[in-house]
Symmetry: C2
Amino acid sequence: MDKLTEVLNLAKSKGYFWPSYEIYGGVSGFYTIGPMGSLVLKNIEDLWKSYFVRPNGFLEIDSPDIMPARVLKASGHVDNFKDPMAECAKCGSKYRADHLLSDSGIQVSESTSINQMNELLNQNKVKCPNCGATTWTVKQFLNMFETNIGPYADNKGYLRPETAQGIFVEFKTLLDINRGKVPMGIAQIGRGYRNEISPRQSMIRLREFHMMELELFMDPEDEKAPALDRDMKLPLLHEKVMEKGEPELISPYGAYKNGILKSAWLAYFLEKSFKFVMALGVPESKQRFIEKLVGERAHYSAQTFDHEVFFDEMGWTEVAGFAYRTDYDLKSHAKETGQELVVIEKKTISTRKTIKLNEKEVKNTHKKDWESIISSVPESREDGIYCAGIKLSSNEYKIIEEVEKEEVRKFVPYVVEPSFGLDRLLLATIYYAYGKKDGRNILSLPDVILGKVVAVLPLVSKKDMIEKAFEIKAMLEKSGYFVIFDEKGYIGKRYARLDEAGIPKAITVDGQTLEDGTVTIRDRDTWNQKRIRPSDLLV
Amino acid sequence: MDKLTEVLNLAKSKGYFWPSYEIYGGVSGFYTIGPMGSLVLKNIEDLWKSYFVRPNGFLEIDSPDIMPARVLKASGHVDNFKDPMAECAKCGSKYRADHLLSDSGIQVSESTSINQMNELLNQNKVKCPNCGATTWTVKQFLNMFETNIGPYADNKGYLRPETAQGIFVEFKTLLDINRGKVPMGIAQIGRGYRNEISPRQSMIRLREFHMMELELFMDPEDEKAPALDRDMKLPLLHEKVMEKGEPELISPYGAYKNGILKSAWLAYFLEKSFKFVMALGVPESKQRFIEKLVGERAHYSAQTFDHEVFFDEMGWTEVAGFAYRTDYDLKSHAKETGQELVVIEKKTISTRKTIKLNEKEVKNTHKKDWESIISSVPESREDGIYCAGIKLSSNEYKIIEEVEKEEVRKFVPYVVEPSFGLDRLLLATIYYAYGKKDGRNILSLPDVILGKVVAVLPLVSKKDMIEKAFEIKAMLEKSGYFVIFDEKGYIGKRYARLDEAGIPKAITVDGQTLEDGTVTIRDRDTWNQKRIRPSDLLV
C-alpha cells in the first residue's frame, strides 16, 4: 500500500475526512470533513490569517455562494471557465478530453484547443474506458454549477467558482468601510464549486472545496508593499528557467527587482506562503513555485504562480495560486453595471504664492512705465518684487498665499490575489505528519495545527478514577481544550490509538491521582511521560 | 426612522452586513457579512460551541452543500419542503400565497391547504400587487435550489435545506469514530439554502443563510441527558396554554416531568438556548419558546419548539428551532439504501453459577438415593449444596461459573435537534446592543462577542506618534487582537465613530506615550479613560 493510500485510510478511520455519501454508493468529488479534520481546518485557517490577514490590518468578509448569472458573465467566467469534454459516440460516456489524452501518453497543455484535442483523440484511436469504442466528439463544458434563483425561469444563478467575485462586487461598500484607503486587503474563507466532468484523485479534484482567498487592492503607481526579504531564497520555476525544468533559488526582493515578479505584493505573498506551508510541516525541499504561461493562466491574470507541494504518488500538486489580476475584475463589473469602481485619492498641493498688483498705486507711482508694468508678470527676486525690470515698493502689490489646494486623482486599483485550496493543504499537512515509529503509525501534526487537543484516560475502569478523569476533562474543556475521553482497553493500546490519530498529549489518571492530584502526561512524538498537576497544562 | 431601520443602516456603514449585489441592482434574499460582522459571527459560533458542543464532548463536522437528489428524496424534503405559490393569471407575477392572504387581513395557518388558499384568494378578490388583477392559481413550489452534478443530465442535486442531512448520511462512519457510543452529538456550522418565492424582511427571510445545528443521537429507552435545572424558569408557550396566548413559566425539569417536553435532551437544550441568547444580550423578557402544533411542524418532527426573540418592528421572530426528530431520518436513509443504521449495544450479563454433579461420586456415596439426587435440580443453601433435600459433600459436585455473557441489542437511535439561524442571531445581537447616549449612537455589544477588538489612535498626525502607534498595533495583532487603526480627524469624532461601530476599547497614543510609554484607554460604554501600559491589555 502506498503512503497516500495509508494516509487516506487513516483520514477516514480517525475522523479527518472521507468521501461523502458512501451509504448512497458515493458521489465523486465530494468529501466530508470529520471531527478531527474540522479542528485541523479551523487551525489552518487561523494560522493562515496570522500570515496573510492580521499583520497588515486586512479585513475578512463572508459573501453568498450563489451568484446571479450576470455577475459571472461580466467577470468572464461564463465564457472562460470551461473544460474540454470528450463524449464517446457509442456509449455516451463523458470524460475530460485532456485527461484521456495524457492517460494515453499523448502530450497536451492547457493551451491545446478543442479542435486539436478532437483530432488527437480520433486520429490516435484513444479507447473509451467504458466501452472501448474510439470515436469521440470534443466540446467545451461549463464547469460552474447552475441553478435558478426564485420562481421565475429566466433568473439563472451559479455557485461561485471562487470567493473573489463576492469581494469584487462589494468593492464600493468595502472601500467606504476602509475609509477610502488602499492598499486594502479583503480576505474570504469559504467554499468554491467546480462542476468537474469526471473527478478523480480523492481530495485533489473536488467539486465542492474550501478556499482561502485574499484580494489585495493597491495603487499600481505606488504599491506600498511591505519590505521584501533579501536573504531568504524561494524556488521559482519562472518563465525564463522553465525550459531547464529546475527552479531558480532567488530572494523575493531579487525576483521583484529583476522583473521576474511583476508586483512587489506578489513577491511579498510568495514569501509568506513559503513560510506558511513550512509551518504546516511541509519541508522546503518539497515546495516550489511554478509560473503559469500565457494560455495556461486564467483569463483574468497578467501573471500567475502556483505554489506546489510534492507528493510521492502524485508528483507536484498545486496548493495555492497567486494571480496578478490587475484591474481586470473591477473594470469588468464597472462596465457591466455602469458604476464607478475607483479609488479617489486627494492630494494636497504644496503652498503656492501669487503676486497681485495694486494697479491704482502702480499708476500713481510710475506715471510713465505703468502700462508695461501692468502688462507683464511680476517676478520675485531676492531683494524684492520686480515687474518689467522695475523694482516695486511694497504698497504696489499684494502677495496672496494659496495655502492648500486639493488635487483629485481617480484610479482603478490593481489586484494581487493569493488563493489557497484548504482541502489540499489539509491533505498535505496530514501526509507530511504521517510516519512510523517502532512499526506503529504516528501522525506528528505540528502543535500549531492541533495544540489544544488532549486525551484524558482513566488508567482502569474504576468509578473513582473515572469521576476524577471527568473532573479534569471538564476543567480542560472550560479552557477551550477539545478533550478526547477514552476509558476502554489496555493503556498501551489506547496510547497507540491516540498516536495514530495525532493527539499530541495524553493525560492518564491513576491511583496516585486519587491521592495527590497529579497525573501523567505523555507526549505523542517522544513517548516520554512525566507527572504534572492538570492545571500546569493551562499555563 | 424606526430602530430596526437605524440598525440596518448602521450595519451597512460600519461593516456588519448589507444586501449583496447592490451594484447589480440587488438580488433579494442574499446578504454579505462584512468585516465587523465576520468577527461577530465567529464569536457567536464560538460562544454557541461553549454552550452546545464542548461541555458534552460532542463532535463537529463539515459536509458538502450539494446533495444528490436521492438523499433529499429519502429524507422527505423533495415531497415536503414546499411553499404555496400564487401566480397572477394576468401578469404572471408570483407570490407566497399565505403572505398575500395575511397581508389582506385573511387568516391562514401553516396547515391551510393549497386548495383552500386558491379559493380564499379568488373569492376575496385579493389584488395582484403588480397589476391589480384578482385571478390566481395556487400551486406548490419546491423551495430547494436545484442543480446538476457533472455532465449527465439525469444527475440532479440540490443545495442542502439544512446541514442535518449531511450528518445523517454519515451516521455510520461517525458512530465508528465515536467508538459505537451514544449519546453522540454531532454539530455542524455552515450554510443552508431555501429558494424563497419572494423574500422580504431583510435578514429574516434569506435564500442563503448560516446555520448552527446539532444532531443528538440517543437511546430512547435511556436518554442519559445531563441533569435538568429545577430552579430556572423558561417561558414556554406550549400546546396546553396556546389558547391563552401567554407562556407558562416552568423549569426545564418540570416541563419534562409533566410531559410538556417529550425528551429530557429537549428540555436540556431549551435551558441552554435561553442562557445562550441571554449571553448575546437579549433580555429574558424578550425571549419565549413556542410549540409548533401538528400541521405547523416539519414532516420529520414529533415535537417542535421555536425559540423566539421580540423585535418592536416585526414582533416575535424565530431564531432557533428544536425538533424531536425521533428515528425518522435514520430509518428513511436505511430504507432507501438498504444499510443498517443502528447502534449495537453489547450488554454484559451478570456472572452466573451452575452446579454440575459428579455422578460417579454421587453413586458411590448415596447407594440408595443416588437416582433421586441425579434426577433433581441442585439447590444452593447457606450451608452448602442440597439435592433432593440431601446435603452433598464438596467432591460430589462442581460449581461452574459463566463469567461473562454478552447480550446484543440493536436499535435505531432517536434524535433531538437544536437548529439556530446565525444571521438572525447576529441581527438580534446588534439590535439589542444598539442604543443612544447623550444623543449619540452606541453599539454596546457584549464583551464575549467583540472582546478582542481594539482601536489604536495616534492623538495627532505626527510621525513619531504614528510610529509608536504602529508598534502597539503590531504587538496587539501578534496576540490575536483585531486592531482598527484610525489617525484622521478630531479625537472626539474618532471616539464617536468607534462607539457607533461597537469597538469596546480605544487606545490613544499621545505626547506622554513618547515619554513614558503609557497610553490612555477609553471604554465604549462608560466613556471612562485611564492611563495604562499597552502590555496591561494582554493580561
